[in-house]
Amino acid sequence: MKGIYYVITLYIFLMLPPVANLMESVMIIHMHMQMTLFVIIGFLLAPVLQKKFPRFFEEWNPNGIPGILLFVIVMFYWTLPRSMDEALNLWYIELFKFISLPFLAGVPLRDSWKKVSASVKNGLIILFTLLFIAMGWLYIWSPNQLCNNYLLIDQITLGWGFLLTAVCMISYIAYSYITDLAENI
């Protein structure tokens, strides 16, 4: 459990104003790196919370579906251009970002992942692949600036980031489809 202190240290480090400002200065790093890191922090914190509040998770997330739904809603919310703008302009939305991504996305994802069936897992990856393709399309080919705080070039970069990540996810889906992980390794 010593590892938990490293996770908390990383969590605090990422929230420090100079670090947060640096990461938020580039649109793609804001969305694809900072936000992802917050989700990962929640993912790593989950075992401690599961141990501390086992009843809570049993009661509210018995089969994993509520957790996955919460994860999807929170993630979809943070892919909206407007939510990023607000996080930069309003301090309480920034605070909401710091709290929602670890605790309403990372923690429920970890708690649900082992409870849901393989088809839900694959469905989730496919859903996010489709979302990423759609977001890539939107950000690359939108003629207008979608975020007030970022330039058009930032937006196009983010779009390509979405598309490339989607390509990687498709490769992963193909890989897990052709390889029986349980048997072959």
Binding site: L22, S25, V26, I28, I29, H32, M33, I153, I156, T157, W160, G161, L164, T165, V167, C168, S171, Y172, Y175, S176, T179, L181, E183, N184, I185
Partner: protein, 559 residues
């Protein structure tokens, strides 16, 4: 020496695991080309070092830049790649129960494609139409034939990579639930990097060819440079991974020890595969067009690659100390006396490892923003890669050759050749320390790299470099003697040494080793993670370079 003699007679059972003549021929061919390349490339290096020190005037038909290009290409592309492939194909053959017939065929097709490509590339170099140096990115342009040659070299590499993948996949199909043997695990990692690392350079070269022919007027220099370094840096780490594979797998056996942690070894390979390609950015620290914040974040990526190296250093010294203590070594450092110092198969890789301490530290200096500004484009950089490639990697290759060449030739390492190897190792070490040390120092004093000898109208600062350049020439001369000894030893072991059985010295794991988890075998996942990381790292600068592209550059011939 005792250890060597004993090994001739023990492990008779190893005969059964020997290499088939067809597979041995592949490795012998690759190694022969590698060592011929070092002979020619080393001679060119000597000419160049003498010229750079102002001691030797080159004839008009062989100017400094032409010799530099040939030297770089022979040693960086030919020697290292041919040795790596020959070595790993012997490892695949030994550990996977022989190469498949179709893989053997692919290895030969790849061999001839590489040779053909190399001949195509060398012709314009000799004609003086391709003095673009090993870093062949625009705006300097060579004759189109040079780039077409490079295409064939890359295609040859891909042939070899896919050959290795087919052989490993076939083995996995027949050995479900087992770990890939450790040397083949390293080979898989190296060929994955060779394939994915050469993709960017293939794109770069396909983009350069129409420009070199004049079909398109201009080229995006920054895109080309970025694609080149994605490959260039990966290539560096491919040699390094080849060298550490010998440290992890063979050196423990040579000192009569065991491999220290199979799991750690495999995690080091995986970490190097995933994080490697993006390291290309630290070669572009003073390039324009990449914002400071992006460069700053890439420092983390580059330093992350240092982490598996620290794990390697720990593992190696753990093996040494454990083995020496088992043999009765005592004291805090007294155990080092129990190491087989008289065995070249140990001594050469050991000095290679020690050299990596300053070499790795120098690498960290260069990937740090401010320090890079001090040494960038100075002779320091040349000193750095002579220490890493010329010492850490090449000395490991030399050490390996003393058992690999006899193994594939069905001969033995004689005490005389072992002694020659020890002398060679000492000559090489002294030569490289002198040369690389002088290069580092004179670089700090401001002497530029990629520049032929000049006193800059007898400028006092430039004249102050001369004593160091003199050391460079002395070191270079010693290295040439080292090359001659090494090449003699290799061909002696290949064709003239007494016949006999040499073992393929794969070390066993520790008896009480914890079993390695099976997730280390998920190569598909590691590749997807690597691709994701590469996408994330390259999307910002590449989109910027392409969307906000400057007018582009016509081809330049500066020589």
């Amino acid at each position: 020496m005792e250890a060597i003699k004993k090994e001739y007679w023990k492990d008779k059972a190893n005969k059964a695991l020997g290499i088939s003549p067809e597979d041995a021929r592949i490795t012998k061919s690759y190694l022969s080309v590698a060592f011929i390349a070092i002979l020619v490339g080393g001679f060119l290096g000597l000419l160049q070092g003498m010229n750079r020190a102002g001691i030797l005037e080159l004839p008009v038909w062989a100017n400094y830049y032409k010799v530099l290009t040939a030297h770089g290409l022979l040693l960086v592309v030919v020697l290292s790649a041919f040795f790596t492939i020959g070595y790993f194909y012997a490892g695949l053959s030994h550990s996977l129960g022989g190469l498949l017939p179709k893989v053997r065929k692919m290895a030969w097709i790849g061999f001839w494609m590489k040779i053909f490509g190399f001949v195509l590339a060398v012709i314009p170099i000799l004609q003086g139409d391709a003095s673009v140096m090993y870093t062949f990115y625009p705006p300097m342009a060579a004759a189109p034939m040079f780039y077409i040659g490079l295409v064939f070299i890359v295609l040859g590499v891909w042939m070899l990579a896919f050959g290795a993948f087919i052989n490993v996949a076939n083995w996995r199909k027949n050995h479900k639930g087992q770990h890939i043997p450790i040397i083949s695990f390293f080979a898989t990692g190296v060929f994955v990097l060779l394939f994915f690392g050469s993709l960017p350079v293939a794109i770069e070269v396909f983009y350069i060819i129409p420009w070199a022919f004049g079909w398109i007027d201009t080229i995006n220099v920054m895109v080309s440079r970025t694609l080149f370094w994605a490959f260039g840096h990966t290539l560096v780490n491919i040699w390094y991974m080849t060298a550490i594979s010998a440290w992890y797998v063979f050196v423990p056996k040579i000192i009569d020890g065991r491999r220290w942690s199979d799991m750690l070894t495999r995690i080091v390979v995986i970490a190097l595969v995933i994080m490697n390609i993006t390291g290309g950015f630290h070669h572009q620290i003073i390039d324009p067009g990449i914002s400071e914040s992006v460069k700053y974040m890439h420092v983390f990526m580059s330093l992350a690659i240092g982490f598996p190296s620290l794990m390697t250093a720990y593992a190696m010294f753990a093996v040494f100390e454990k083995t020496a203590r088992k043999k009765g070594g005592r004291g805090l450092v007294g155990w080092y006396k129990k190491m087989p110092w008289g065995d070249v198969r140990f001594l050469a890789p050991f000095i290679a490892m020690v050299a990596f301490i300053p070499a790795g530290a120098g690498g960290i200096v260069q990937s740090t923003n401010q320090l890079n500004q001090v040494v960038h484009n100075s002779m320091w950089v040349v000193g750095h890669f002579h220490l890493t490639l010329g010492m850490t990697v090449v000395m490991t290759f030399f050490g390996v050759s003393y058992w690999l060449v006899p193994f594939v030739s069905g001969r033995v390492l004689t005490p005389a050749i072992n002694k020659l190897g020890i002398i060679q190792t000492i000559v090489w070490t002294v030569g490289m320390v002198l040369m690389s040390g002088a290069m580092h120092w004179v670089g700090l004093l401001g002497s530029p790299r990629r520049t032929s000898y000049s006193t800059y109208f007898d400028n006092a600062t430039a004249l102050s470099w001369d004593p160091y350049l003199f050391f460079l020439a002395i070191g270079g001369t010693l290295l040439m003697i080292g090359v001659l000894l090494q090449v003699y030893a290799v061909f002696n072991m290949m064709f003239f040494a007494p016949k006999g059985e040499t073992e393929f010295p794969v070390a066993e794991e520790e008896e009480d080793a914890t079993p390695t988890p099976m997730w280390t075998e998920r190569w598909g996942l590691w590749i997807v993670l690597m691709l994701t990381l590469v996408s994330m790292a390259y999307v910002i600068p590449l989109v910027d370079f392409i969307v906000n592209a400057p007018p582009g550059s016509p081809p330049f011939k500066t020589w």
